[in-house]
Amino acid sequence: MAERVLTVCPYCGSGCKMNLLVENGAIVGAEGAHGVTNEGELCLKGYYGWDFLNDTKLLTPRLKKPLLRRRRSEELKEVSWDEAIQFTASRLQKIKHKHGANSIMLTGSARGSGNEANYVMQKLARAVIGTNNIDHCARLCHAPSVAGLQATVGNGAMSNSIVELENTKCIFVFGYNAADSHPIVARRIIKAKEKGAKIVVCDPRFIETARIADLYLPIKNGCNMALVNAFGNVLIEEKLYNQEYVAKHTKGFDEYKAVVARYTPEYVEKIAGVSSAQIREAMRIYAAAPSATIVWGMGVTQWGQGVSVVKGLSALALLTGNLGRPNVGVDPVRGQNNVQGSCDMGVLPNFFPGYQKVTDPEVRAKFAKAWGVPDLPANPGYCLTEVPHLVKQGKLKAYYVMGEDPAQSDPNLAGIREALEEMELVVVQDIFMNKTALFADVILPATSWGEHEGVYTCADRGFQRFNKAIEPQGDVKPDWEILSLLATAIGYPMKYKNTKEIWNELRELCPLFSGATYERMDGLGYVQWPCPAPSHPGTQYLYDGNKFDTPDGRGYLSAAEWIPPFDKLDEEFPVILCTVREVGHYSVRTMTGNCRALQTLADEPGCLQINSADARKHGIDDQQLVWISSRRGKALVRAQVTDRANEGAVYMTYQWWVGACNELTVDHFDPVSKTPEYKYSAVRLESIKDQAAAEAYLQTQYNAMREKLTNVVGN
């Protein structure tokens, strides 16, 4: 009889509660549990994404023992934990003494590790090493949402909850593909439609949500700021905005109006590729709804103007009074299962846990006192997208990567590879061998989701506990324990009994989370921060009573001039490459790539979504292998001819090795958030005559890479 272990899915930010079925110490299945967001449902990743825990070796071997090499020219060898920890500690200290604490960069993990481990990681960075150079993959993703919303309404997270999405009267989808990113959120959108909500979708591709939309704007790649300004223009010129709300609860209207004045729908038609009538209709629907919610994703944030566009979307909600009550809001749907949590835990160069600024002397004093150190670094640290550039400048010497894979997910992979090679020390702490670990001097094997417990924060600020279902195989340790051993070896004694102890420590330091006790999260417990006291019920929606978390309590209207995309199209590179997700794999695929069912559905080299007209023009047939190259690199990919893709643009997902789209993507960043412009790289397509040779080449490359990673671990 199988035992049921209640936990939270480790993949996307929907926060699905699920039961792992455990028999004789092994997981044999998964079923949905009645969590707040998922109500018993799961997608294929939740149902069939657990067998990587059986070390299937489909893609990569599980890390089971610490590995070390004292010179890069040598092979990594198995060592004891003592030796690995001592080595890491002494090397970090050497580098700190020689080049300063700020020559070291660390990451937290937005995935399996959990909030407690992330809290310990940023504590290690700040209290033990003495740097604010701590960041994580939100930098590649929703960092613009955090920055843009903090600036305009005061809180960088979803203002309203996933459960409310089915009750809003209008869902305004901008650059977000719920079907592929968050099936459980797509479920709410479908339910909203059943209840009569209007759906408006702005996207270059005819995504699943566009199929059920009342209005679909097939926008041109790269028009975001111009279009959002035009929306503001329509709201003002057609007097669709809530004048009383704007007067009472916002500021900056006159400056905002001045900027959007020239972005008339007629002016923006050519930039956005949609008619002025459609632009007007979109806002008429949005403004007419008694309640309306804007949801967005990477289509907004992975651009050089991501922050400004987020501010612009925030302005639309402020102008129409769609904040501060149920079933409305500004909802950046956070991608990964614990990316919201990583931000919450201060795995950010400018924030302590609980969004308390590193530049605030009182905050620093509070944390310094709690952590028993005389002081803490006062200046914001580096962002992880700056790493290649900083290494070139000689400013970074060491990289400690926990639960992330920058050699797969950074833009312009050639750049990060160079940087990793150049570094004096690369430490990788992870569960599976991955491409980043190929550059490591020391590899620290951690326990995986399923093998440890803790707290995740899902996309709508909901804390939930996840539980241990099986014993880990191999000589591995939980992330927080590894970091504690390291801290102690460096000279800062750190020892926790369990994750609850860590959680209680951070609760005391974070007013926003103080009331979220472990007990309240028992079973299907779900506590949404802000939750300042144990008696506080948690906060389903923000800004109640239209009190924004800004210094004067008002929302700030902001618009900026449109800047065209950075990577220029020309005769040599005439096609736009945009990166997207697919529903059956998650992120860099270290986990789902080792799951049989998920690998059966999708494997190397990944798909290139291409419009049929473009395919014909390039002489490419459906399912043929194609070369794709940019100013930065080249990749092999399989054509998937579909008219859901727009002409002139092609779409790839980012988890493949042979079909690695990030070999091609441009390392151009938003100046504030430092998030890369993944959504627009200039590329060239080349059809391949000898398809048989190409298929053979694909298999050779794939097998070579698998072997390379396997040989490192020696399995």
Binding site: L44, Y47, A186, R187, R211, T600, L601
Partner: protein, 187 residues
């Protein structure tokens, strides 16, 4: 009337969770461990055209062309569905040619794959949606679909749907006042 499993394209997001569930529901207990593209044959298949996303599967036709053309009596109308008697199948593929929906396949039996090529006979069977009659909790695809886009439609469900639509039609007709209806002489 036969019952059938059918999806609502308005709710489908094309995730293919149903396909995996279908394969597992028709495999041995250790299927997860042995799953591969070569052995992956779901009885419902997600189709994405430019405008539609939906799984398609057997309609359990009342006058099933597959049953009509089958020369060995492999396909029979029984238990309110079109059932397969696998031992009778000779793999002539008439059913595949006849099926208007493209939802029946002739596939090698698992047993054959196990001892091929020692055995000289290729044991095959016609494979199609069987309403998961063998499953206590019913169709696996219905159970797993996160959008609850798939359902069983039988005579009762159809009758209820038709009744509701007729009610709605009646209310629309009620918009006409006396003498307003086309074809009526005005008083």
């Amino acid at each position: 009337m036969n019952k059938l499993v059918i999806a609502d394209p308005g709710k489908c997001i094309g995730c293919r969770t149903c396909e995996i569930a279908c394969v597992l529901a028709h495999s041995a207990a250790d299927a997860m461990v042995r799953m591969s593209p070569a052995s992956f044959h779901p009885r419902l298949m997600v189709v994405k055209t430019t405008t539609v996303s939906t799984p398609v599967q057997c309609r359990q036709c009342e006058d099933a062309p597959c049953a009509v053309v089958c020369p060995t009596g492999t396909l029979v109308l029984r238990n309110n569905s079109v059932e397969v008697i696998p031992s009778r199948c000779i793999g002539c593929k008439s059913c595949m040619i006849a099926c208007r929906f493209g939802v029946i396949e002739v596939l090698p039996c698992e047993a054959t794959l196990a001892d091929w090529p020692l055995s000289s006979r290729m044991h095959v069977e016609a494979v199609k949606c069987d309403l998961c009659e063998h499953r206590a909790s019913g169709p696996a695809c219905i159970e797993v679909c996160p959008m609850k886009a798939i359902s069983i439609v039988d005579a009762i469900v159809l009758a209820e749907a038709a009744r509701k639509r007729r009610e709605h039609a009646a209310m629309v007709q009620a918009a006409f006042g006396p003498g307003d209806s086309p074809g009526q002489a005005s008083t």
